[in-house]
Assembly symmetry: D2
Homo-oligomer: 141 residues x 4
């Protein structure tokens, strides 16, 4: 199969990185069909208005797009976020948020992806579109 | 003066909110000329490539734009991020990052702002443009 | 039915506006499921590299999002583009381009939509996400 | 000088391309400090609300960013728009619009630029930020 799914070891590696631990987000799936993430919004994620700070949602959707891409590119390849544009479509209250990412267009050097985050009551709280550069990654990963 | 600067009490309030504490970012100035922020990038902010996660930078610049707007709107008014677009222009290594935000265009309902983050060696690591909705805030603030 | 489709008279009105005539684009459908557009890329649409200028594609997708919104909002309401972000994912050669727009999220004041343009060989040449303000329109329309 | 300004022959070449002729926009300056454009908004540029269509402004600012980049990169190099995000900050009425573009960040493969368009009464009607890929161009240009 030319597009292996991201295996459990790679998911674990991502879930252990500093930022994922800091904000408490977790990637639960990443394969050629896209990625899925979960985060429990708590007091530590809030801005002064009492809902999740944009940085939490941007980090979540950046990651959801990135892992959707890792679920498609050949092994030995990774990606770096060039830019992203995110709309905050509804306040994100405390409680579970789920996110999913998917690839829109794969070019030789750049990949365009999208992602959205949904609150427990199925409201889209954020949606984004981003551009990623294909980059080589160390072969021992 | 119709556009009072954000006073020290308001800066303190922002610096105490959950997300600012979580990521360790601080607003050091916010007035009609714009805002300034600082963050020390540490292990907890990194993605697996060893540089600051996009979520950290997006949260920083979202805040820099938001506080630049608060430094201009009349008292009793606040803002909510409608959307933002951020370019990651260089890897953001561990160490001090500074950010500044400014207002590009003030409309009756929406305000457009921009922000950028600079590393210790004066390299722009991220720049963004965003749209904010003017909203009323509780008068006891 | 609370969300009537855009009727033929309104489609005709749009197709007759200056910009649509100038660039030669046509809206062929706009209802609650989204919009569809067609444009034949010709010499007049090209930049110096010999493919469609970004302005042509941006205008096409701006319109595709806008008409998708008009296909959903109540009569007497219109929309104005607040901002849009567009990725140019492949060169758009001479020949037929089709575009489609759809609504992602409807808020009380703002609506987020997306659109994409596809060339004759089914390649996505541009995709975008945009924010629109709901506005009243004159009742004689 | 390692970064020659765009010379008059190159400006003329751009001003003669199909899209510039179609919409009637003109680049009046492009050098290492940025670019300047002019367009006279007329009936042919309008949408049904009676102001310039977003496509006109997007094409103008895409070009303003692109020519600002051409004013900086070495000869033999060009650029292609990867993506752009544009805010429409005020209605653009009939009459003269001027635009200017500038470079924010130059990377080895990608360049980030910004641009804004201003109406005759000095109101910013659109502002944008975009990403461009550095590409080789035929040496006979």
């Amino acid at each position: 199969m030319s597009r292996p799914k991201v295996d459990d070891a790679l998911l674990a590696e991502w879930n252990e990185c500093g930022y994922y631990q800091l904000v408490g987000m977790e990637v639960t799936r990443a394969n050629s069909a896209g990625s899925e993430f979960e985060i429990e919004i708590q007091d530590q994620h809030l801005q002064t208005h009492g809902t999740a700070h944009g940085g939490v949602l941007a980090g979540l959707l950046d990651a959801a797009m990135g892992l959707a891409i890792l679920g498609r590119v050949p092994q030995g390849e990774g990606c770096a976020t060039v830019e992203m544009k995110i709309n905050f479509t509804a306040p994100a209250p405390k409680g579970l948020l789920t996110a999913r990412g998917w690839v829109i267009s794969e070019g030789r050097r750049l990949i365009v992806a999208a992602a959205e985050a949904v609150s427990g009551d199925e409201v889209i709280v954020a949606c984004c579109q981003g551009t990623f550069a294909r980059i080589p990654v160390p072969t021992d990963r």
